[in-house]
């Protein structure tokens, strides 16, 4: 197992560096950071001054090697746009994004697991159809649209929650719902499928024969196995929440990593984009690894296998 984890960790770092190289090259092709920093009507001499200040007059490959050398020493450079070490920028915002990500995951679990279980236990009834409708709707609705509709409903018309910002827990309710809703369909459907499969299996028949019924049968025997595939999907979804909060954080003006990513891309802030892509890639690989480990922990057959 340790060997497996080490292999996956090495793969994660390789993936992260490969993605960072691609991002570096593409950003340098697409934008000129000096112009982005200086602004639309900046004097060309000011632009040149900025270019020299940040060493942007050097060839792209020299800058990448420079960045890579620093990254290997744990120094990810200084943001052109924010004029701060990028590690500090990330540290300042990671808590906000994690709060949002875990809140969103909570929303997903709170909606998708009961809904999936209800759908499975009431197969082909109106409840099942309703659950399917929820899943299809949540999948079809874009995040930004849902976000603004919720703002209009619950911040403008019924001023229960703030429109934007991240100062209090109330600021996180609407964005957590928006971000969490997008994960409801896959989790709910997996839960439904898994539970239907489990409920038809031999050991459940045996449990029924031993007198287990209702909640006891569901919680003590069926759910544990039905949750196996769900757990791994939830882990991957958490990665999506961390890396995929760009739109939600921008719509709700939440000062987290997602918004930082958007600001950095628009501002051609290459060092910040680099570290964010590096982190997002690592998070995705790490979450997949976590999913495998959790599955192994929950299912002894996998450990033996």
């Amino acid at each position: 197992m340790l060997n497996y984890i080490a292999q996956r960790a090495a793969l994660a770092i390789a993936v992260a560096f490969t993605v960072s190289l691609a991002a570096f090259v593409l950003l340098n092709i697409a934008t000129d950071p000096a112009y982005a920093i200086a602004g639309e009507d900046a004097d060309p001499e000011v632009v040149e001054q900025i270019r020299q200040r940040f060493g942007l007059d050097r060839p792209v490959w020299v800058r990448y090697l420079d960045w890579l050398g620093g990254a290997l020493r744990g120094d990810f450079g200084v943001s052109y746009y924010w004029n701060k070490p990028v590690a500090t920028l990330v540290a300042e915002r990671v808590g906000t994004t994690l709060t949002l990500a875990f809140s969103a995951l909570f929303v997903t679990i709170a909606i998708a697991i009961p809904l999936g279980a209800l759908a499975a236990l009431n197969r082909n009834t109106w409840i099942d159809r309703f659950a399917l409708w929820v899943a299809v709707s949540a999948q079809a609705v874009p995040n930004f649209w849902l976000g603004l509709i919720l703002i209009i409903l619950f911040a403008v018309m019924l001023p229960i929650f703030p429109v934007s910002g991240d100062a209090t827990w109330r600021h996180f309710v609407l964005p957590a719902f928006v971000l969490g809703a997008s994960s409801v369909p896959p989790v709910m459907r997996l839960m439904r499928t898994g539970l239907i499969e489990v409920m038809g299996s031999d050991y459940i028949r045996t449990a029924r024969a031993k007198g287990f019924r209702g909640t006891a049968l569901l919680t003590r025997h069926a759910l544990r196995n039905a949750l196996l595939p769900v757990v791994s999907v939830l882990a991957v979804q958490l990665g999506h929440k961390v890396g995929g909060s760009v739109i939600t954080e921008s719509v709700f003006a939440i000062n987290g990593l997602g918004r930082l990513a958007l600001q950095s891309i628009l501002g051609a802030d290459i060092p910040t984009v680099q570290i964010l892509i590096f982190i997002f890639a690592l998070v995705f690989v790490a979450m997949n690894l976590l999913a495998d480990i959790l599955n192994a922990a929950l299912d002894p057959r996998l450990r033996i296998g």
Partner: protein, 511 residues
């Protein structure tokens, strides 16, 4: 992305907003706090190290300069300085008030002024104002506590204007507290001398300002100003509908017009010094002997554009107009009795035929702003037979391609930093050192340069008259339209609009 979101969601937000009426007021006169939203992040409060419009708005509240610009008359007026006088051709003596205090309570003296200017032009300062100020300043010298001599490196007509707009005054030694200069000394904890002082600042999130009671000038009427960064225009709309903000700017016309119909929100449309235009490769710099080197082709393109309809229907707001000069009509030196090209597509087709292009020609037209305007221009040009390949790109991409001399024609815009003087647009677009200059006309370059080398306003006016007239006659540009600045403000806010298009929150008051 924000613009895309807005386009998709704008109608939903507007429909709901209009249908359900006013939200609950949170901002406003109750706590004497004006809450303003800006899409661009405020990252640094030191205007000596920033450039964008958002920073100008903040700096007008937090900083004091030697002189001030009267937005109505566009004349320079005393501020920290009481007067100025040319001691000789290359020396200006500036007298200072004796009651100006910085936000930390200390009195401003000549040493602070001299330090600020000498630091700005120091080659190690990396100040964004350095390029501008070092064009004319050699050094500033303290004569006594309230007198400074500015020793000039060159005569420049915009010296006093630069003193009134570009250089925010700092305390002596501000950037030299340690062994190394600290460029970020004022980035967060700003000590200015303006009408508002900074209470707190979270970069990219929020700046909280309060009225500075020891301000030497007229005190602003509103006690507190909070400037929030809200990147998404849809979210800004929701905030103003919910009463979370009182003021937003750079509002798309359709949004401004629709939300302005609500009883609790006003749509204000004011003039803006920004103009748009097409720069043509008249000098054959990109394509030697290309079609754009023929004046008849360039005139044909000028006749092809329906400026008035673009101004009315795509820019809108009432303050936008068709443009006929390579400068904004209110700018000094921007003469208007130049050759005009009325909208006449038939004349355009005839001119193309005369130039040997009866079937038109292919042209790459680059653009980065206002896509609807770009598409209208494309359509107008195609109507006279020019086959346009519209290259709609990010500004940075356009800048790179232009620097590599790959652009035969592009739709540009210029805001002149809100300065009503033709120098601000001419020097960048008609200078030999600028990649924006594609006319290849040495005389125009000479006239523009000449206007920058004399302080004699009559002589400057004559230089610009010659340059602007020639540019129009030779159709080096296709001038398009002037811009409108659209704002949405709470109906309980009185927000005066100025001719230069610079929003001055410090002049706002409650109704």
């Amino acid at each position: 992305m924000t613009a895309r979101l807005h386009r998709v969601l704008g109608p939903f937000v507007l429909a709901a907003g209009l249908a359900f009426g006013p939200g609950i007021a949170a901002a406003g006169p109750e706590d004497d706090t004006l809450r303003a939203a800006m899409a661009g992040e405020i990252l640094n409060l030191d205007y000596l190290y920033t450039t964008r419009r958002e920073y100008i708005i903040i700096a007008n509240m937090t900083d004091a300069r030697l002189f001030s610009m009267n937005p109505e008359t566009q004349q320079v007026e005393p501020s920290v300085a009481t007067s100025y006088e040319f001691v000789d051709d290359m020396t200006i003596e500036v007298k200072l008030r004796d009651d100006v205090r910085f936000h930390d309570g200390s009195l401003l003296t000549a040493a602070d002024v001299a330090y600020t200017y000498n630091w700005v032009i120091d080659e190690n300062s990396e100040s964004h104002a350095r390029t501008l100020i070092s064009r004319w300043l050699d050094r500033a010298e303290v004569i006594d506590d309230h007198t400074v001599h500015f020793h000039l490196a060159a005569v420049n007509p915009l010296i006093i204007r630069d003193m009134s707009q570009r250089v925010a005054l700092r305390k002596d030694g501000t950037y030299h507290q340690g062994d190394e200069p600290d460029f970020d000394a004022m980035a967060i904890d700003l000590i200015g001398a303006g009408p508002y002082r900074v209470v707190s600042f979270n970069p990219g999130v929020e700046a909280v300002l309060e009225r500075f009671d020891d301000y030497f000038g007229d005190a602003p009427e509103i006690g507190n100003v909070v400037v929030r960064t809200i990147p998404d225009i849809g979210t800004q709309q929701a905030e103003i509908m919910a009463g979370g903000i009182d003021w937003m700017f750079n509002v798309p016309l359709d949004v401004a017009q629709n939300l302005g119909m609500r009883p609790d929100i006003d749509h204000l449309a004011g003039p803006d010094l920004r103009v748009s235009f097409i720069v043509l490769d008249a000098g054959g710099i990109v394509q030697e002997d290309g079609p754009l080197t023929d004046v008849r082709v360039r005139r044909a393109m000028n006749h092809a554009i329906n400026r008035d309809e673009i101004a009315e229907f795509l820019m809108g707001g009432g303050a936008s107009e068709g443009l006929h000069t390579a400068c904004h009509p209110v700018q000094f030196g921007c003469v208007q009795d130049v050759m005009r090209y009325d909208y006449d597509p038939q004349r355009g087709r005839e001119l193309l035929a005369e130039a040997g292009y009866p079937d038109g020609f292919d042209l790459d037209l680059w653009a980065y702003r206002e896509r609807p305007v770009s598409e209208a221009v494309m359509s107008d040009l195609e109507a006279i037979g020019i086959n346009i390949n519209l290259r709609y790109v990010q500004l940075e991409t356009l800048n790179q391609a232009r620097a590599a001399q790959e652009i035969p024609a592009y739709i540009g815009t210029w805001g002149s930093s809100g300065v009503p003087d033709t120098a601000l647009i001419a020097r960048v677009h008609f200078s030999d050192t600028s990649d924006r200059h594609l006319s290849g006309d040495a005389e125009v370059v000479e006239w523009v340069l000449g206007a920058e080398q004399t302080a004699d306003q009559d002589a400057r006016y004559e230089f610009y008259r010659q340059a602007i007239t020639r540019i129009a006659e030779q159709a080096y540009w296709v001038p398009l339209v002037t811009y409108t600045a659209n704002y949405l403000v709470s109906s309980n806010l009185n927000f005066p609009l100025d001719n230069d298009g610079v929003p001055r929150l410090e002049n706002a008051s409650w109704r």
